[in-house]
Symmetry: C2
Subunit: 208 residues, 2 copies
Amino acid sequence: MPSAYPEPVDRLIDRLSKLPGIGRRSAERLAFHLLKATEEDAMGLARAIADVKRAVKHCSVCFNLADRDPCPVCADESRDRRSVLVVEQPKDLIALEQTGMYRGLYHVLMGRLSPIDGIGPGELTVARLLERLDAPASNPGGVRVEEIILGLNPTLEGDGTALYLAEEARQRGVRVTRLARGLPSGSQLEYANKAVLADAIQGRQSVS
Amino acid sequence: MPSAYPEPVDRLIDRLSKLPGIGRRSAERLAFHLLKATEEDAMGLARAIADVKRAVKHCSVCFNLADRDPCPVCADESRDRRSVLVVEQPKDLIALEQTGMYRGLYHVLMGRLSPIDGIGPGELTVARLLERLDAPASNPGGVRVEEIILGLNPTLEGDGTALYLAEEARQRGVRVTRLARGLPSGSQLEYANKAVLADAIQGRQSVS
């Protein structure tokens, strides 16, 4: 039985239903919304998608997303280029950057080691990170990296990746730290799970 | 504090979060998906949106969505043009059409009467429907409409709209029917609510 939608509507529904978390029903709802939307709103979305694909690339130094290369963080001469904070995803970089608490550089791995899924160092941007540690000329401003801060997710795979990178960095005489773990600010102790409490005890800080 | 996203990413997130049912978080997730997607997939979506706005319009006779005017249903000479099934939305037309059980024409009201929301007959396509009843020349093939079938939603507002249209049609000597109500096929009687059971009793059909 032929679909009763005009062909362009069918095609839009197909495309929308390929997006993550958008099923057939949601795709239909979105397509009808776009049909009813103003020309300016619908075409604005179409253009925004095209612009993002055209203008936004990964920084060739740290793999941050940016509309120029190197990205604004790598290009910023006021930042402390001796320090590189390693994260899994561009999203993580953005979350950290929004705290305004960190003034060094970053390196985005584009994932984490996951032997089960066949993801080894070669599938990530590890080689480029090690190059930045080995050859100061390949780090912004030609500055030698003195510390890497591991900002991987506190998961089994994130920890495995951190362990691997820590070993590589130490062999190169680079200081290795990782983001602190403990009770999430604003949480209630009674609802924290065992792993969080164990981290909080192990990492307890002296109060002057 | 400036957002850490490149400007085109920000703009895409803004546009996506204007879609119904898409919050800020989902919009970010979708934007990152599009960034990672192949050029062909992302541009395919952008093009599908543009095409739908360019090519798909409402039929000037029945307000069905179509990429030509009149729409394929109105243009199909094999359909019974004496009968017009009135629905609220193009989606309803499509759902009915997919059953393959109806061979007449349609009329899409583009909503239902809702005095509370200030929606009167003037906000809907009622005038065009009455014109089709009054002047056979304005109905496809110049065929006189003999029956209108009310296919509005079985809600308070749908029923109010049906009542209003039934009166208008009767004044014009047009037969008025409405879609049957009763137990939904495949349901279980014990879970049906009172209104459904009342409809089922009132509309009981003789078994030969």
